[in-house]
Symmetry: C3
Subunit: 274 residues, 3 copies
């Protein structure tokens, strides 16, 4: 049977997440439910998109991903169910789909009509997304629970800017549990603009002239590996984005990229190609 | 097979929650275990009751709810298993049952005798509640693992007070992940006292004269919806309690009801009917 | 089918934990995955070892425990799979195995060779540990995915020190969700050194001359049990270690052992036998 995943900004202290799970299990006893994250910053679509986009390919095809972030329907915000890249996504038409899709096109897309009568529920993730997800999990067709549509709200995914084919200016889009700082500069864009030229990356007052392929490459002597703890580096992370990292970062001891370099979401990072 | 849910104040960093799950799976391989919350404030029965009471109906009947909050048995505190509203609850006789029941009566109630010999375990949730829950999940009868009883500790559920049939004084009982502030004034009590009269709700220095039926009702122009971010409102939440909320609250940006109105658990909110 | 447990320092906000789960479910649909903790302090092997050592016996035999803490392989750090005490552990050769084993010997131990070609992945927990764990869950032999080895890195587990057969000096190794403070003095060591003599335990300026067998033993009058809230005590916790605790501790109200006694990890506690 299909898997249902949950990505929300509900936190894990309230009863909302358990309410969603109970409602799913009432319809589909035994189905596997996987938490992706419930720690999305409230209403932060960019963060939600970054998280789900980087993890959905790890799941089997036909997995159903419920996104309970900024999901209240209203006069102009519809609720959507989409098939993208072999996976199903159930979310509000608040723009998140455009961030997840990037250059992909949805294979199928419907405006949800199921549950139209409780469309003004204050808990649509449980009251509308759950029955939709369960319908899909039972191999139901999307056009049974919604009307086909071709449109969805577009948000400008914060793209890195190129200046005179020489400078690439990116933005911090995410900070992970280790305080490592992730930018919106993908490996692909870096290569397209850089064309193999040498470069200098500027992060506030710090300059970097090489990009490592793995964290441990910063270590020069593994028999005294502890000497490298706390060293700064730049690499492409496992999601393919340029990341400023600290080797074995620990906010309580050696510090993290976030704290040591004083970076926060929205800050700029620039790459100058020679 | 039945589902077992867990509500505790153990947090998710320690090994306690996993210990409970391991112990359940040792007895019942493959059973579905759902976390309700492990973030209950230590020993806070009111918070635990609010959470479990609002979520248990989302689960299928015969679900078994383990409540590992303030669960150490002692000379005067027994351990209980109860059937209420088609669900099973396993908890200490510390008063939480009276908060969950409110106006309901238990369909069955036993004082747990199973595991009497390790009744002084420092980890009764694992050592006593787990075997009891597994017994119930195997369709075992309650009176096999305990003795029928009619009594349980009563706590005064903090009820809103009525003054001269004109003023209703409620209390903040919960603050959710969005910083929205929930009071103990239920829709039912509000209607019984208000009898349809107009009203003014006082929350510190703020006055409200209408109660919305959904969050998005605060928005007047959906094409400029962002203008409404941060607006204060009062509504009945999905659990049926009067809630003071901020539209698209975010503690890091527009603020939350908790921070903007300076509210904390135990504060009073009053409603004056005209 | 086997159970796979996860212990990491990834936190629950990022997509890493869900990525691991997705990767497992791609290979083994329906397998049960249990989170032990994802809140280990970054790279803290002592904390990870304390948590997993105290909880693995609660799981059925043949459970597979993935430890994603400090798991990046490098020129000198191999990846290991071990069978210990009827359970499987998959981790890096960073010393954690020696902390888990203590006086045990591994029943089987291999250096992982599976996935050697992506051995420099920046996400080895997903890319290497998951296929290894799934192989074991399918009853695969360890020597198919690795080469037998007899060696593993040893860390000096912080042992309590004995002075002149009279004084036992222990160290705070863990602080739990209630702020209770756990030392490395086991019941066994205490008995071996103390030989039944009377004793005085010194914790900063506080002295204790008895060890309770359960938290509620501090209460003298259960009808006025609230009078005991906040009282200090020493007992052996459910894992068998000497713990300094506060009865019904709550950081927000009566305080905790951590806050009231000003203790942190690494602090000393001494026991003087008379």
């Amino acid at each position: 049977m299909a898997i249902i995943t949950l990505t929300t900004d509900f936190g894990i202290g309230d009863y909302m997440v358990a309410g969603i799970k109970g409602a799913i299990l009432k319809q589909l006893p035994g189905i596997q439910i996987v938490d992706i994250s419930h720690e999305i910053e409230p209403f932060n679509l960019g963060e939600a998109a970054y998280v789900i986009k980087n993890v959905y390919p790890d799941f089997p095809e036909d997995t159903i991903h419920i996104i309970g972030v900024d999901a209240l329907p209203n006069e102009v915000t519809r609720l959507l169910a989409a098939k993208i890249d072999g996976h199903y996504f159930v979310c509000a038409d608040n723009g998140i789909l455009s961030l997840i899709l990037a250059e992909l096109k949805p294979e199928e897309l419907v405006e949800i009509t199921l549950g139209r009568y409780n469309a003004y529920s204050n808990f649509p993730t449980r009251d509308i997304f759950v029955p939709v997800a369960c319908h899909i999990a039972r191999d139901g067709l999307l056009n049974i629970i919604g009307n086909n549509t071709n449109t969805y709200k577009h948000l400008n995914f914060l793209k890195p800017q190129t200046k005179e084919d020489k400078v690439l200016v990116g933005t911090v889009i995410y900070i992970d549990n280790f305080g490592n700082v992730i930018t919106n500069i993908s490996h692909k864009v870096f290569d397209e603009v850089g064309k193999g030229r040498t470069f200098e990356i500027s992060v506030r007052n710090f300059k970097f002239t090489r990009i490592l392929s793995r964290y441990s490459e910063i270590v020069t002597d593994f028999n005294n590996e502890v000497n490298s703890h706390g060293e700064k580096m730049v690499l492409f992370n496992s999601a393919g984005f340029l990341e400023i990292a600290i080797y074995k970062s620990n906010p309580k001891t050696v510090g993290s990229a976030k704290s040591l370099l004083g970076l926060k979401i929205g800050d700029n990072i620039s790459v100058e190609f020679k």
